[in-house]
Symmetry: C2
Subunit: 384 residues, 2 copies
DNA sequence: GCAATTACTTCTGCTCTAGAACTAATGCGA
DNA sequence: TCGCATTAGTTCTAGAGCAGAAGTAATTGC
């Protein structure tokens, strides 16, 4: 299979056109010109070069029924490049192969035999080899994990893995021979939503993820909000319920103690007198079990308050909910609305809230997007 | 006095150089080139044009002691243009005359005879005439008020004035003949900090103002965070103390009921059995009065929690505290730190918190900056 | 079948750029 | 005291990239 050339050495105007097509394509030349504030003439010149070099192609025509000559939309060839995206937890490693638009072509997972960095590198490398077999070649590997990551390479801290200052990116590049980028899992997921998910085309949006922990990410003015604290899980301690349960750090009713999936399951299990998991908790609540409903509604109200807090402080055009525990939002929909109403002025614009599937694969797609960004953007720029 | 020409028709490269000098000047050509990623040659050409047209001037030399030819810093002539900045409350109108860098040259105030828009326009116009006498000419007028403002002109809602949908900007332009811009007071103050205050040169910072109400503003990725909800005072209802006093809307321990200067004064006054104002409350607390100390410390803790919330969700490089009630931060410094510690992970980077003077004039400087921005920026661009 | 409309191309001239080669003004060490 | 390194700024040139004009292409609607 013929592979398109790297985008990095492209001149800035060409690259911004290619990026526009990658994120918003298939799209006609005139639409791109309008979006980028360029003349039709400039777009003709720029797209000719990109078609020549194989970065873009013309797709089948699209008349759209309105008057005038039909446009001839441009598109990238999603299958021209492949990327690996992996999500690393303290117990297992999930991985996917994606195309240039982070569409999943294949996926696999493996239990971590050890948390030792050397061992994890080996596990990642083996999964990478297995996943690589389904495609001709891999352009880059992205890994997401819960923790703080510096310059998309060095893991500063990762509590679930018990790591501090691990040069994980370099270790992986040496072992696999692949260009490798590492990023905090929530930031990676946020970039996925930014480029290919529900945040596409929005100037400002926020992400909240529910699961074992509570994650927060945001894109503000078209740029990921991130610093060295990203990955600490700063909203995990967010106070939501002054009468709520205690968390291990001694916070009463913090986001983690109220919203985390294990906390919800445990609260219901304790009341029922038998241990249950989050899946069963959801089933019980949906079946109308009064204890499960009560706990879910309390959690939903807490989620609503957290949503209101994010809405009030970052003024997002949309809030995207993700993570394995996202079912809470649909099960306790009314309670979430109630929670929002508590902390949000009724005169404020209604918050646009969108829930993703909550699939574990989404974390991997996020990691793949980080690898895709590394491929298409000038690494020195670091923007967008 | 000779006035420099408007900046708006300047070509984009010239204008960005002029803007760099306005905000960071006096500054040498080579420093500007480094900041804007331009070559020394380009800067020579651009600055020659700006010097020719009188927008910039060369200041006295500045050798700085290090080797090499000393630089010849460029600067704007602050006194070449003058602006009016006014702050409108429900009771009075405060106004200042400033130069191009929002330095205050003269100030004045007047009690509002009525809240009727026509009457307020008249009051503004008269104060404008009075303030104008001290300078040769006024380039633009900026007005800040507590409320929602659309496109820096139309007041959508202003509770203190009991206004809805008042075309205030147009009315003022007609009456005064001056180019006039209107903005929410907190957003205006935030822009002041952004261009000429403690937020200068920072990519991300947040502002909290304390006074009759609680205000929040932020600059994220070098752009003001603002939408149609700005001006509703969304953080006013922020829950800070589950055992705190009730606010008129029935929120227990919300930011307004805990932090607002009148609320603090009232809490102390009630306990003392005699009405006091915020000033006396501060004096009592500083003198060690146990009741005043207790109330101030509770408020300080609440402020700390609000600061932590902002720090956790917007990841600012700095948080600027302003408003007439800012003395709370110094009086209850320890309690503020305590409050931050409650809601912020100790592993997170320490928040850089800066307090302004709390002078009422600061609101006017904010309004003046909005007028200055209108003058130097292309109004169609709307950016930065 | 003709006009209106929208999409795209080609060409021209202009603006802005980097980079090289240059001058200018300083500190510092031999 | 005299280079010499260093930093600041200027001038010139070639080229990149742009808008806008003029022209072509392909459709709808009347």
């Amino acid at each position: 299979m013929q592979t398109a050339p790297r985008w990095s050495p492209l001149p800035a105007p060409e690259r911004s056109v290619a990026l526009e097509v990658l994120i918003h394509g298939p799209i006609s030349r005139s639409d791109i010109a309008r979006r980028l504030n360029l003349s039709a003439g400039s777009l003709s010149r720029l797209s000719a070069g990109l078609l020549q070099s194989g970065v873009l192609v013309e797709t089948g025509e699209l008349s759209e029924g309105r008057a005038g000559r039909p446009s001839r939309p441009l598109d990238v060839v999603p299958g021209s490049r492949h990327f690996l995206g992996m999500k690393l937890t303290g117990e297992e490693l999930l991985g996917v192969v994606t195309d240039l638009r982070a569409n999943v072509l294949d996926s696999s997972s493996v239990v971590l035999p050890s948390r030792d960095p050397e061992s994890v590198v080996e596990t990642v490398a083996r999964l990478a080899e297995r996943l690589s077999r389904s495609v001709a070649s891999i352009t880059a590997l992205g890994v997401g994990l819960g923790g703080r990551v510096d310059r998309r390479s060095v893991v500063l801290s990762a509590p679930f893995l018990e790591w501090t200052d691990v040069r994980f990116g370099e270790m992986l590049e040496r072992r696999t021979g692949l260009r490798t980028v590492v990023e905090n899992d929530v930031d990676a997921f946020t970039e996925y939503e930014h480029w290919f998910g529900s945040g596409r085309g929005l100037d400002r949006f926020a992400v909240l993820t529910l699961g074992v922990g509570i994650g927060y990410g945001a894109v503000l003015h078209d740029r990921l909000l991130s610093n060295r604290d990203s990955g600490l899980g700063l909203v995990g301690h967010w106070p939501l319920d002054p009468y709520g349960p205690l968390c291990p750090q001694g916070h009463r009713g913090c986001a983690r103690s109220v919203l985390a999936s294990p906390a919800i399951a445990q609260a219901i299990g304790t009341a029922l007198g038998r241990p249950i998991d989050f899946d069963e908790a959801c089933r019980l609540a949906e079946a109308g079990d009064p204890i499960a409903r009560r706990v879910m509604d309390d959690a939903g109200r807490g989620l609503g308050r957290l949503i209101a807090a994010v809405g009030n402080l970052t003024l997002p055009d949309r809030i995207v909910l993700g993570g394995e525990g996202v079912r809470l939002a649909s099960i306790a929909r009314a309670a979430v609305e109630e929670g929002i109403a508590i902390d949000r002025d009724p005169r404020a614009t209604r918050l646009d809230i969108v829930a993703t599937s909550g699939d574990n694969i989404e974390w991997c797609r996020g990691a793949a997007v980080i690898a895709i960004q590394d491929f298409v953007l000038d690494s020195t720029a670091g923007r967008l």
